[in-house]
Symmetry: C3
Subunit: 139 residues, 3 copies
């Protein structure tokens, strides 16, 4: 089976969700495949890949605020604190969400729902450049 | 690589889990492939796809009750409330669970464990008809 | 498309994370494919597959402790209690994390990030032998 694979970077200046749906759509077009699956894999353990509503930004703000409240920094039970107060919460938020998404496509286009976008969710506070491996399989 | 793809709908009359394992098994049989992977992708951001125990319904009831308690409606921190009190909790529950599952198959049969079923987890209260894209890749 | 598939077992003597990255890497090498995707699927509903930091064990200890605190045993709302006090929390922890991971590979090597490892996360207290289906697709 032919495989199309590329690594992209997503620059995150702040904690929160950063959309990169267009990069995934472009990789599918560059693959030359008509239909199949595209896997988007995050090579880090302190940020996530998620599919979320991309219409109203308030939905993502509420999601981010809610998860920050569920997994607060400064938890007295944390033992792994050497890399800063936002490090261990970042690992937990990653485990509660997703490291990769696998998305179908047909007619060279992503089969996302009307309101779905693909996001890199940065859980650290400092700016980071994150690597995403995009793998397209299909025909 | 040959790809077999179809979209099914799952009618959800109420909040909670709705099994559609048989539709996934049927798509695998219709693909004509002997072994490979089947991806089940939910085209919405206020419901989820999950694999869960399908033997004793009380396990799913407890799971649903627990998540409803973790993500209650009427959270005073929510800003995104125009679509009703159950909308923002639905997005959060979706992000905490899954948008897709990728399941192996062999001898034309899903390689699920004895107690595993595939479910559409509707997080909204009103009835919805949900679209699931099933993509089979294999040989 | 050629498919390489095998089932491995992971022996869990205790609750917590058990790394099996090497088994996944070996399956990729045995497939003979140069590049593609490997899916790691857990055939159980009371344990998870997750990708997590594999350098400092304290990060995993904190993650496990945090999730145990979020989903305590003995919840008075639980109805599904016949299989023991750790059964229903195990199903919930599974639903909040992952049943499978799909990981890219190239040059016969997993494209994991520097600190990423693949883990079976056992949520039950008693020792269990768990089955993982590894499916490799590629070229």
């Amino acid at each position: 089976m032919p495989v199309h694979q590329q690594t992209i970077t997503v620059s995150c200046r702040r904690q929160g969700t950063h959309e990169f749906t267009d990069d995934v759509a472009l990789a599918v077009q560059e693959s030359g495949f008509t239909s199949g699956l595209v896997n988007v894999f995050c090579q880090h353990t302190s940020c996530s890949v998620v599919i979320m509503e991309n219409a109203d930004p308030s939905a993502r703000r509420d999601l981010e605020r809610w998860l920050n409240r569920l997994v607060p920094e400064g938890d007295p039970d944390f033992e792994h604190t050497l890399e800063g107060p936002d490090d261990m919460p970042s690992h937990i938020k990653m485990a509660l969400t997703r490291t990769s998404e696998t998305i179908p496509f047909a007619n060279r286009r992503l089969l996302l729902g009307t309101w779905q976008g693909v996001f890199l969710w940065e859980h650290r506070r400092a700016p980071h450049t994150r690597k995403i491996v995009i793998t397209v399989v299909g025909e």
